[in-house]
């Protein structure tokens, strides 16, 4: 839908199998020039595999890959105009940082001055000038990560590929480097394809997110769209932490209006924006913990009483686990408004911000 007119990377009918195990099936993906695409999905869904196919590190079984309009399906990785950054940094341990950066250029036979110039530029961008003579073992995790990025940077590539570049770092460093990568992208304006299974990274970095599952792209959209209008239950459950609350029940038409119900619980759906024509039948109702109000009184199209089960303070916010009839619900509230365990509360939400999924899991 939002495929660019002149895509930077275009993947057509990509199929990849390891022996009899098919990991990617007829995958299509167009990425615009300068776009920051994040591949997000649970472990084993084929994110790294897809990235490796783009990089040319795996021999694909079928399909084509274009980078900058050129068919690179059978090109060597080095000829594809890509740079790649790995989760484990993959720095050459016996070489100094400078050697690490220059290795690729030397192999390609770039003249000495040119190499020096490029290293100087990359070092400046990444602020690793003082580290150039050190060995990777003498660097901290964040520094290593920067050198790994530098290695792609010096090669002046069109497309950056990142395979979970931050997941080996601790939370603090991760959020710092996340911002740095974002700044880098703003500065370089290269196309970037970024694999992660951390949704915060995905949400904060991406222009568009491709949520994958079992080798298939479930939804490819801007972060907010994915957050607010997940195309199916998988995407809905995968995005958001703590996860969306799901309630199994039935979709019914009563008096010309649609409503969702299970047991005592009846949710009127007058404010809900259906994606397709609804049909009565089993359905799953999903609402995010942060979209449920607690004791906030009036104004909600839906409200009910619930018992507090567990209270999990998380700093500024507190996660409250409620029992609503037979259902368990989590609600995120500011810490100062957190109720006591065991108390009764009044909850409410607007179905407009909720999602309803049909029997096949797709959004209604």
């Amino acid at each position: 839908m939002s495929a660019a007119a002149n895509p930077s990377v275009s993947i057509q009918d990509l199929t990849l199998s390891f022996g009899t195990v098919s990991v990617l099936q007829s995958l299509n993906l167009d990425i615009a020039e300068g776009e920051f695409i994040v591949l997000l999905g649970p472990s084993g869904c084929g994110k790294s595999t897809l990235l490796n196919c783009i990089a040319g590190l795996l021999d694909i079984s079928d399909g084509r890959i274009f980078i900058k309009g050129k068919n690179v399906t059978w090109e060597e990785p080095k000829d594809r105009g890509i740079g790649m950054v790995f989760q484990s940094y993959a720095l050459y341990p016996q070489m100094s940082v400078e050697k690490n950066l220059s290795f690729g250029l030397k192999v390609a036979g770039t003249p000495k001055e040119e190499i020096d110039k490029r290293i100087a530029r990359a070092a400046e961008i990444l602020q690793i000038e003082p580290l150039l003579q050190r060995k990777p073992a003498a660097l901290s995790g964040g520094q290593r990560q920067r050198v790994a990025i530098g290695r792609a940077l010096v090669r002046d590539v069109d497309v950056f590929l990142f395979d979970e570049p931050l997941s080996n770092l601790d939370a603090k460093l991760r959020s710092e480097l996340r911002v740095e990568i974002k700044r880098l992208h703003q500065r370089l304006a290269n196309t970037m394809i970024y694999v992660t299974h951390d949704q915060i990274e995905a949400m904060t970095l991406a222009d568009r997110i491709a949520v994958m599952r079992g080798g298939v792209i479930q939804q490819l959209d801007a972060p907010q769209a994915i957050y607010n209008r997940p195309v199916n239950r998988f995407v809905a459950g995968f995005i958001g932490s703590p996860g969306m609350n799901f309630i199994d029940g039935r979709l019914e038409e009563v008096d010309g209006g649609w409503r969702f119900g299970t047991g005592d619980l009846i949710v009127p759906l007058s404010t809900y924006g259906f994606d397709k024509q609804p049909v009565a039948g089993p359905a799953v109702f999903g609402v995010r913990p942060e979209h449920i109000g607690l004791n906030s009184g009036s104004g909600w199209p839906f409200s009910a009483k619930a018992a507090v089960d567990v209270v999990e303070p998380m700093g500024s916010d507190t996660l409250v686990w409620l029992r609503l009839g037979a259902q368990s619900l989590s609600v995120r509230v500011p810490s100062e408004r957190a109720p006591q365990t065991g108390s009764q509360v009044e909850i409410g939400f607007d179905p407009m911000r909720a999602s309803l999924f049909g029997e096949d899991g797709s959004r209604l």
Binding site: A5, P7, S10, Q12, D59, R64, F66, G69, K70, N71, V72, T73, W74, E75
Partner: protein, 300 residues
């Protein structure tokens, strides 16, 4: 749009992908195909002939095999190999593991002990055979020494007693080989997750039980590597027997590899030697091939 792109770049020939890797593997491929497969097929083929000093293609059917299995020496060799193989497999694994476990107790002088256990591995079987022949010689070896100390009836002369000579060979073989097994085991032990030990201690499981029931089963990869190495050595045992006993007394310590060698070169009956080696290959194949297939062929 896609159609404008779809030109260019044809799929290159499969053969030339990773060409360097293939070229670099030529020695391995040649060795595998020409030496191991080729040599084996050649051997099997000629085992059906009556080749004497020189190989010649005069087929005699299964004659060589019939004769082989009617030869007492071959039967003794097989029996010896079985006894020697089973015992040396068991003992070197057990001793190697026990030693490794002892060395793993954060003891002092670990390096010294390890070196002591390992050094015989540096020596050739010829040397090992010579030394142990000397030590086990009843006239001046251990037996003589013990007797000279006053225990006149002491008898320990495995090399001159047909019924136990193979154990004499075993003693020497274990002396030579267990150090290396210990080393492998030690490496394996060091690779076990520290938390497992802690968990077992918290559970109150005694150390020996932890070793036996928890750690040992976790060392499967090491055990397999060790097994390959020991087993490969067992089938090939030759130098040691030649140096230590020459197969004697009589034919009591003969082994298949020696039978092959003797009949191929000494008796100048290549056909017989080839038949014997084919039998050895066959038994190796029955044990090894399914395992190797599982271990290396299918995985990855």
């Amino acid at each position: 749009m896609a159609s404008t792109m779809s030109s260019a770049a044809k799929r290159p020939s499969r053969l030339f992908r990773n060409l360097s890797a293939k070229i670099a593997s030529v020695p391995m491929i040649l060795t595998a195909l020409v030496v191991f497969v080729g040599g084996t097929l050649w051997t099997v083929l000629y085992s059906f002939t009556n080749s004497r000093l020189l190989p010649r293609l005069k087929f005699v059917g299964l004659d060589q095999y019939e004769r082989l299995w009617a030869t007492p020496r071959w039967l003794v060799s097989i029996e010896n190999l079985a006894i020697y193989g089973v015992l040396s497999l068991i003992f070197s694994l057990v001793i190697g593991f026990v030693l490794a476990a002892l060395l793993d107790q954060k003891i002092r002088f670990e390096d010294t002990f390890r070196t002591i256990f390992l050094y015989p591995f540096a020596l050739s079987f010829v040397v090992t055979g010579v030394v142990w022949q000397w030590l086990l010689n009843p006239d001046f070896g251990v037996q003589a020494v013990v007797r000279s100390l006053g225990w006149e009836s002491f008898a320990f002369d495995p090399l001159y007693n047909s019924s136990i000579v193979i154990y004499g060979v075993l003693i020497a073989a274990l002396w030579q080989g267990t150090g290396f097994v210990m080393c492998l085991m030690l490496a394996g032990l060091r690779g076990i997750d520290e938390d497992i030990w802690k968990a077992a201690r918290v559970d109150g499981i005694p150390a020996w039980r932890t070793y036996l029931f928890i750690v040992l089963p976790m060392m499967r990869p090491v055990l397999i590597t060790t097994l390959v190495i020991i087993a490969a050595g067992i089938v090939k045992v030759y130098d040691l027997v030649v140096a230590q006993t020459s197969g004697g007394p009589g034919i009591a310590s003969e082994v298949p590899a020696k039978y092959v060698y003797d009949y191929m070169f000494f008796a100048q009956n290549l056909g017989q030697g080839f038949a014997a080696s084919t039998m050895m290959l066959l038994s190796v194949a029955i044990i090894i091939v399914p395992w190797a297939y599982l271990e290396f062929g299918r995985r990855r």
